[in-house]
Each structure stands twice: as structure tokens, then as C-alpha cells.
């Protein structure tokens, strides 16, 4: 029975890079309204950092940090948040109205609800992509066991 995950070199490098990837994802999400990128791209990058963990350390190690229930809850929360932001527009009378102050153009704190929308999309996409990966990994396990018996 060998250890879960890949070799020592991969694990060591992953430990260094994974937080950087995560941070880059957060940067992309928060700057979505002023530079290329946004909730979807940032969400994918953050999901990739978790997938990175799964590949290097095995499924269990990654799931210890973020289990299936939490992933599913975060995904729904993302959708609900986006829905809530759209509903917030009703305070100004129209669905999806951007009611927050717009700020100065090209500054980090600008564009009203767009930043919040990006964060909601990031939660939805990131958690969704990671959930899909976990589901595929779970499907792969029984197939591997069968091959081992042969």
C-alpha cells in the first residue's frame, strides 16, 4: 500500500504554488470590473487550486479542507447571492437595477453591484467546478479497483 498522492517533489512544489494560485484567483475576481477576467475566470482558477491539491495529495486530503456538503452549500449560496443582488435592485424599483454608488471609474471600489455579482459568480463557478471534479474522481475509483483485480 503506497502513500496517497504523488511523489515528494510534487507535494513540496504544490505546497508552495497552491496558495499563489488561490491568491491569483482572488485577484482576478476582485478586479473583474476593471481588468479582463471576473467571477467566472477567477472561480475557475480557485477551483483549479483545489483540484491541484486533489492531484498532489489525493482526494481525502483535499476533502478534509472542503468537504462535499460544504461545496454543495457554497454553490447554492453563490446562486442565491446573485439572485439576492438582482432582487436588491427592486429597492430602486427595477429588477437588476445597480443601486450602489458607482464610485470613480477604473478604481477598485467602483461600479456598484458588479463586484458583488462577480463574487457570487465566483462562489457558484468555483464550487460547481470543484464538485464536478470530485464527482468524476469518485466515479473513477471503482473502475480502478476493477482493473487492479485483473
Amino acid at each position: 500500500m503506497k502513500e496517497a498522492g504523488m511523489s515528494l517533489i510534487v507535494k513540496r512544489i504544490t505546497k508552495i504554488t497552491v496558495s499563489l494560485i488561490f491568491l491569483y484567483g482572488v485577484y482576478i475576481v476582485l478586479h473583474g470590473h476593471i481588468t479582463p477576467g471576473g467571477g467566472f475566470a477567477g472561480g475557475v482558477i480557485i477551483a483549479l487550486s483545489f483540484i491541484h491539491l486533489v492531484l498532489a495529495f489525493g482526494k481525502e486530503a483535499a476533502l478534509k479542507r472542503l468537504n462535499e456538503t460544504a461545496v454543495s452549500a457554497i454553490e447554492s449560496l453563490g446562486g442565491l447571492l446573485f439572485w439576492g443582488i438582482a432582487l436588491l435592485g427592486l429597492l430602486g424599483g427595477v429588477f437588476f437595477l445597480n443601486i450602489l454608488p458607482k464610485g470613480r471609474i477604473f478604481h477598485l471600489f467602483s461600479s456598484g453591484t458588479i463586484v458583488l455579482c462577480n463574487i457570487a459568480i465566483f462562489l457558484k463557478v468555483g464550487a460547481g467546478l470543484f464538485a464536478i471534479f470530485i464527482a468524476l474522481a469518485a466515479m473513477r475509483m471503482p473502475a480502478e479497483k476493477k482493473e487492479g483485480k485483473k
Binding site: T69, S72, A73, E75, S76, L77, G79, L80, W83, A86, L87, G89, G92, G93, V94, F95, F96, L97, N98
Partner: protein, 493 residues
């Protein structure tokens, strides 16, 4: 307050996965609450229409820059169809879905399906229509595969492949239109096409072909029907009722009519294409149906045939023909959903859908038997049930439009339909069998309730067809007959 039709089911879809974590039963309460609210609002929308077409600009952005939603006669008809059948299917699901392991997932997908369907109907923006169409399609792929047995997965995969091909064709057509007129608002596209030079005629022709192929695949008209007889029987019964009663009509017939009548313009060529597609669908569907021995599969083939009537009626292009087609669309959603719910409750109680194995259920399942008799008579076009009037209107319209062959085919198909429903009545409910069906009980209360309501509506729509035509069908056919004037109505001036 048009976005309410999307807000309610979408919020419900996202709430259910979280809410069902701490209370098991909350999923079905939330979903049914949403279904009931949607039904109330859609009935209310009849009164909104009294003061003319309603518009809603999302985020306050006016078209052609922003996304708009519009409510006209056609929208009201489709909202009632979607939410009526949706609400009753949800009530039916309360008992039915106990057979499956994860009700929360089912209700989430079902709410998403409702959000997509309502979105398609209220959207006045071509790309938004496509997005909601994809939401509907993806939710239905997942719901068809919900049983996760080999049969369901195969059917769902087939549906997924053909559905994606359809979506790509539609997207290509939308892309071509965007490329030539640089706008996505339906009314604005229509106006720009009318104003532009003769070179846009080729683009209109090309896009019409793509739209007919794409929406034809979603509607399952005959050359494009291969996925339907697998997908509809494989889904859980309430979902089959939604697929046959609502989904193929909303993302198929409604979207096709909206695009062809109000954006591209209804020409003589399109009229004859519709008429031929309709006639072929009617004939092939019913001839394939009569040899089937699987209860739900037989019904699925009849859906193809009945949608043929709808497309034939609308394709005639006369006011009477369009009214007949739309009335048949409404009636078909009532009786076909009812028949699928009947098939579901027979399967729930006996565990089989094979006609040879069933028999003599009229004693043990009186309500199912009675409601299915009403539905069978309606679909076969026996007076005074609702199917009779709509078929009569279509046939009269066909003769008035000098389409004698089409009218004769309508009558002929009606007779074969009657034959195949007599077969169902005989094999499932009437004939005597020894012991095999002993101990079979009637379906649970909520399932009976849904079926009874639909049966009452079948009779009511038949008896009260004149006031009904005036209040709901007439505005809908007027909206289609408005044709390219739609642009003026939406944009003003």
C-alpha cells in the same frame, strides 16, 4: 412585474439544496409553494393584458441596449400552459417521487426547468431566449436521466446529443442575425431587417432554415423526432407530463412561432413548409404509435402526431387556422399531461408499463381509469371534450384555405388516434384478467388530485370553449397575426 415568473422558480431552485440540508421535507414544500404562486401570477397576467402589451426593462436599461421582457397575448397563453401543468405536476410529485432516492435534487431541477420555461416565454430578447432555452434543455436532460438505470441514461444521452445539435443550429442563426443587424432585441432585429437592403433577404432565408431545423428538433417534428420516443417514456411520470405537455411546446412551437411570425416574417414558403411538416408529423406519429406496447412510448408517439396538428393549423396562416392550432396546443397540454400522469399512476401501482401485462384495472383504480377515459376521448376528438373543438376548428380552417388533402388527413389521423386509445382502454382498464392484477391499489391522494383537476379542465375547456377562445386564444392568435408590426408595438412609434 414580469420578472416575477423567473425570480420565483430561480430563487426556489437555489434555496432547495440549502434548505433540504436541515429539513428533509422542505424541498417539496418550497417547490409546491413556488408552483402555486406561479399559477396565481399567470392567471393574474390575463388581467394585466387588458391594458395592452406590458414591457419590463431589466436594470432600467431601455432596448436596444438593455434586456427587455414583454407580455402579449401569446405570452399569456404560454404562461398559463407552463404554470398550470407545472403546478399540477409538482402536486403529483409529492407522492410519486417517494420512489426515488433524492427528492431535493428532483425539486431543484424541476424549479430550474420552470424558471427556464417561464424565461423563454417572457423574454423579448433573442439571446436571452436562447439562454433560458438552454436552462430548460439542460434541466430536462438531467430529469430524463433521473432514474439512472440503463434505459434512462441511454435516452438522456440521445436527447442530449440531438438537443445540443438543435441548440447549436439556433445559436448559429442568432449569430448570423447579430452579425447582420448588430442587435439582439427581437423587435429591433425585425425593424432593422425590414429597413435594410435586399442583401438581407438571403440572410433571412438562411436563418429561417436554421431556426426551423433547430426549433424543429426541439419540437420533435417528424424528420427530427428520433429522440422523443426514448426520452419521454424514460423520465419520471410528472416530468414526462412536463416534457410532452409543456417543454416541446414552449422551446419548440412557441419559440418557432415567435421567431418566424414576429421577427423574420411569415411568408408563403414558410406556410407550406409548416403545412407539410405538420401533415408528415401527424401521419408518421400516429402510424408509429398504433403498434407500440409500452404505455408511455405509445403516448410519446402521439405527442409527435398531435404537435403535427398544432403546426399544421398555425401553418395555414389564416386567423381561424392559427386559433385552432393554438387552442389545440392548449388542449394537448391538458390531455397529454393527464395521460402521462395516468400512465405514471398505473406504473406506480402495478410496477409495469407493458400493455400485455396489464388488465382489468377499472375496478381497482376507478379514478385513474375514469380520468384516463376522459383524456382518451379528448385526444381522439370526441364531442364535447376539448380535443374535439380544436380539431374541428383546424379542419374547418383547412377546408376554408382550400387545403382539402390536409383536412382529410386530419380526420383520418383522428380516427387512427381513437383506435390506438381504444387499445389502451381495453388492455389496461377494461379486459378481464385472471388474478394477475389482484391486490393492486389505487394511487395515493395527491396523484389522484392532480389527475382529477386535469380531467375537470378537459371537460370544462370543451364545454366552455367559446368564452375560453375569446379570453385567451384570441389575444394569442392576434399577437401572431400582428406579424412584423410587433416591432412597432414593442418599441413604440
Amino acid at each position: 412585474m414580469l420578472p416575477i415568473f423567473v425570480i420565483i422558480p430561480l430563487g426556489c431552485a437555489f434555496l432547495i439544496p440549502i434548505a433540504s440540508k436541515w429539513r428533509k421535507g422542505s424541498a417539496q414544500i418550497l417547490a409546491n409553494l413556488a408552483g402555486g404562486l406561479l399559477l396565481l401570477f399567470s392567471i393574474k397576467s390575463i388581467f394585466w393584458l387588458k391594458t395592452g402589451i406590458k414591457l419590463y426593462y431589466l436594470g432600467g436599461w431601455k432596448p436596444p441596449f438593455g434586456i427587455a421582457m414583454a407580455l402579449d397575448g401569446m405570452t399569456v397563453l404560454m404562461l398559463i400552459v407552463v404554470n398550470l401543468i407545472g403546478c399540477l405536476a409538482l402536486v403529483y410529485s409529492i407522492d410519486y417521487i417517494k420512489r426515488y432516492t433524492s427528492p431535493a435534487l428532483y425539486y431543484t431541477l424541476f424549479s430550474l426547468l420552470l424558471a427556464g420555461l417561464n424565461g423563454v416565454v417572457v423574454s423579448a430578447d433573442l439571446f436571452n431566449l436562447f439562454v433560458f432555452l438552454e436552462i430548460t434543455s439542460i434541466a430536462s436532460y438531467a430529469l430524463v436521466a433521473f432514474g439512472t438505470e440503463a434505459e434512462e441514461l441511454e435516452a438522456s444521452f440521445k436527447y442530449l446529443v440531438l438537443g445540443s445539435v438543435a441548440s447549436i443550429l439556433i445559436l448559429l442563426a442568432i449569430g448570423m442575425l447579430l452579425g447582420s443587424v448588430s442587435t439582439l432585441n427581437m423587435a429591433d432585429i425585425s425593424r432593422s431587417l425590414a429597413a435594410s437592403s435586399s442583401s438581407s433577404k438571403d440572410i433571412i432565408l438562411y436563418c429561417t432554415a436554421l431556426f426551423i431545423m433547430g426549433f424543429g428538433l426541439k419540437t420533435a417534428l417528424v424528420p427530427f423526432h428520433a429522440w422523443l420516443p426514448d426520452a419521454h417514456p424514460a423520465a419520471p411520470a410528472p416530468m414526462s407530463a412536463m416534457l410532452s405537455g409543456v417543454v416541446i411546446k414552449t422551446i419548440g412551437v412557441y419559440a418557432l412561432c415567435r421567431v418566424v411570425f414576429n421577427i423574420l416574417g411569415f411568408t408563403q414558403m414558410i406556410s407550406s413548409i409548416f403545412i407539410w411538416l405538420g401533415i408528415i408529423s401527424m401521419l408518421v406519429g400516429v402510424l408509429l404509435a398504433i403498434g407500440q406496447w409500452d404505455f408511455k412510448r405509445l403516448l410519446a408517439y402521439h405527442s409527435i402526431s398531435q404537435i403535427g396538428y398544432v403546426i399544421f393549423g398555425i401553418g395555414l396562416g389564416t386567423p381561424l387556422g392559427i386559433m385552432g392550432g393554438l387552442f389545440h396546443l392548449f388542449n394537448h397540454s391538458l390531455f397529454k399531461s393527464l395521460l402521462f400522469l395516468n400512465a405514471g399512476s398505473v406504473e406506480y401501482s402495478t410496477g409495469t408499463r407493458q400493455l400485455e401485462k396489464l388488465g382489468g384495472l377499472s375496478k381497482q383504480m376507478p379514478v385513474t381509469s375514469a380520468t384516463s377515459l376522459i383524456a382518451s376521448l379528448s385526444i381522439a376528438g370526441i364531442p364535447p371534450f376539448c380535443g374535439f373543438w380544436s380539431k374541428l376548428v383546424i379542419i374547418i380552417a383547412a377546408f376554408q384555405a382550400n387545403n382539402i388533402a390536409g383536412g382529410v388527413v386530419c380526420v383520418l389521423v383522428g380516427i387512427i388516434t381513437l383506435a390506438s386509445f381504444l387499445k389502451i382502454q381495453k388492455y389496461v382498464f377494461i379486459r378481464k384478467v385472471e388474478e394477475a392484477m389482484a391486490g393492486v391499489k389505487e394511487a395515493p391522494l395527491y396523484m389522484l388530485f392532480s389527475m382529477a383537476v386535469l380531467a375537470v379542465l378537459c371537460v370544462a375547456a370543451g364545454l366552455l370553449f367559446l368564452p375560453f377562445m375569446d379570453t385567451i386564444i384570441k389575444p394569442a392568435s392576434d399577437a401572431l397575426l400582428e406579424g412584423l408590426n410587433y416591432a412597432g408595438l414593442i418599441l413604440g412609434t
